[in-house]
């Protein structure tokens, strides 16, 4: 009786552990896929918003790098909008951005490397 029960307990413990291992291995890449997709959506939204802002400002988002290189750094001037309860007309402010920031935030919206 005890020996038989021991065999069942051993088999049960192994089954639980295998189940947990498979769930673990299945879940982690799936979560990565989810977060990557979420990041892509967020970035796409940002890009669309950026595109809209550009239109409002009378400028189009360019697929090529914009701005000009100053001392080895690409300086891009982008428009930042300020919202209040009653959206006020967009006020343009010149914010200098480096090429690194541009690569991460504007030109490569779905980059998985930045999603982590």
């Amino acid at each position: 009786m005890r020996q038989k029960r021991a065999t069942w307990v051993t088999a049960g413990v192994c089954a639980v552990l295998v189940g947990a291992l498979i769930a673990f291995a299945f879940e982690r890449p799936a979560r990565q896929g989810e977060s990557a997709a979420t990041e892509a959506e967020d970035s796409h939204g940002d890009a669309a918003e950026e595109h809209g802002a550009g239109t409002d400002a009378g400028a189009e988002a360019q697929p090529t790098l914009s701005g000009e290189v100053v001392d080895g750094l690409r300086v891009v001037q982008v428009a930042a909008r300020q919202f209040e309860l009653e959206p006020s007309p967009p006020q343009e402010a010149k914010v200098p951005r480096t090429s690194d920031q541009q690569r991460g935030g504007v030109q490569c919206p779905g980059s998985q490397g930045d999603a982590r």
């Binding site: 051993t10 673990f24 982690r28 890449p29």
Partner: protein, 454 residues
């Protein structure tokens, strides 16, 4: 744990013997231990997931990484299972713990063996099997090779006829596998870069070090009770009973039917530790007795044990005792020296005035092999003893042949409806009789036996 005291002397009741270690003895304690085992085994996967819920690695690589983490945790827990901890033995019995240990060793070995193959197949590349893969990877492979040897050695040592003591020493090499796996994981495991996982890894190593040190340093030096040989009596041509007196005067608290690890210190002879059944009843101790048959390198010298020799005793262990059940009646079936735990139980029944019906079916080769025949034949009226001889001489008028289910049906058939059946003897005989008892309709819950592969 059981406590020492006068309650274990003559007249001890079932309640007294069980009360002292009731908590560790019960099924709730057993369930708690299984839950703790599962929690500790699953903790690395849970931690790895909690600390990094998403990775870029494909499914196969994640299975491979998880197999490594889980396999190492199981390997570390193996040390706890094999340490003969009495809190672990109490609810299950050491034979069951060792059975679990064996099963989990094979499972952990399979997980760890699959670990590099899954990583390679998942995209890490087959070059990890080459020697140029880096010392961290090579250390892991070395540990894995040692693990395979340890597992194969444990599974095949009996068939290959390896000496028990040699096998035990070689089996301790498994701790090197844990050490190798620990360094390998810490050096190269991506999940172990997180401080939380590192802490768990160190916790596992700490547990292994503490338990290994307890088993291999503390117990040999301070963990055994000191007894002195009071006498050695010859029972049959090849069986001897060693009487042991405690040096501190306190009897060893045990249940009838339990066993102990005995290490005799005899001048001019190497001292070895071996498990032996306690053949005396706690109601008659001291002295405590071990009845030992010459059947191996160590036991062949048992008759050279002298009064005054010292003995270290660790125990008691095991659950082969009717005190764990509530039998309406008893059928004891023994073969040869397998009578020893039953002698202890019969003495206990007699000393406590227990009058429940008992049938003892005792198989031997010849009349000269019957251990303590006079004592058995002088038992009270509620005990019926049936001697069965496989090679009787011409003068024998009793049952002859082997103890089979037909013999059981003939001599104890009327009791099988309600009796608990206790079986102890050579493995082949036990296997045959357990099958036979099932065929006779005795449910597993009423067939009591211990089967060792330690």
């Amino acid at each position: 744990m059981m406590t020492n005291g006068p309650s274990l002397r003559r007249g001890a009741s079932r309640g007294n013997l069980l009360a002292a270690d009731r908590v560790q003895d019960g099924p709730a304690w057993g369930a708690l231990l299984v839950a703790l085992y599962l929690a500790l085994a699953l903790l690395p996967l849970g931690l790895a997931y909690a600390l990094e819920p998403a990775t870029e690695d494909p499914f196969l690589v994640e299975v491979g990484k998880g197999a490594g983490l889980l396999g190492f945790a199981l390997l570390a827990l193996q040390v706890a299972l094999s340490a003969r901890l009495r809190v672990v033995d109490a609810p299950f019995g050491l034979d069951v713990v060792m059975r679990f240990h064996r099963g989990m060793a094979i499972f952990a070995g399979a997980l760890l063996l699959s670990h590099p193959f899954l990583l390679a197949a998942g995209g890490e590349g087959w070059e990890i099997f080459g020697l140029g893969a880096g010392w961290q990877v090579n250390l892991g492979k070395l540990a894995l090779a040692l693990l395979v040897l340890v597992i194969l050695g444990a599974l095949l040592s009996g068939k290959l006829g390896v000496q028990y003591q040699l096998w035990r020493r070689a089996h301790r090499a498994a701790v090197l596998v844990v050490a190798g796996g620990f360094v390998h994981g810490l050096a190269i495991g991506p999940d172990l870069e997180h401080p939380g996982m590192k802490a768990y890894w160190w916790l596992l190593l700490g547990m292994v070090v503490v338990i290994f040190t307890f088993r291999n340093v503390y117990v040999p030096l301070w963990g055994r009770r000191c007894f002195r040989v009071a006498g050695v009596e010859q029972e049959t041509h090849d069986t001897f009973t060693v009487r042991l007196e405690p040096e501190d005067g306190r009897p060893l608290p045990h249940r009838p039917g339990q066993f102990m690890w005995l290490k005799l210190q005899r001048p001019g002879r190497s001292s070895e530790e071996h498990p032996f059944t306690i053949s005396s009843s706690p109601t008659r101790e001291p002295p405590l007795t071990a009845t030992i048959k010459k059947s191996g390198d160590f036991t062949n010298t048992i008759d050279q044990t002298r009064p005054g020799d010292t003995a270290g005793i660790e125990g008691p262990y095991g659950r082969f005792s009717f005190l764990h059940q509530e039998p309406a009646s008893f059928v004891f079936i023994a073969g040869g020296v397998g009578i020893t735990p039953i002698l202890s139980m019969l003495e206990y029944l007699q000393d406590t005035g227990d009058e429940r019906p008992v049938v003892l079916i005792y198989g031997n080769k010849a009349e000269g092999d019957i251990i303590r025949r006079e004592e058995l034949d002088g038992l009270p009226g509620n005990v019926r003893v049936v001697h069965v001889l496989s090679h009787p001489d011409a003068a024998w008028t009793g049952p002859s042949g082997y103890v089979t289910k037909d013999v059981i049906r003939q001599h104890a058939g009327e009791m099988l409806e309600a009796a608990h059946v206790y079986v102890c003897g050579p493995p082949v005989m036990m296997g045959m009789l357990i099958r036979g008892l099932r065929e006779l309709g005795v449910p597993d819950a009423r067939i009591i036996y211990e089967r060792f592969a330690v």
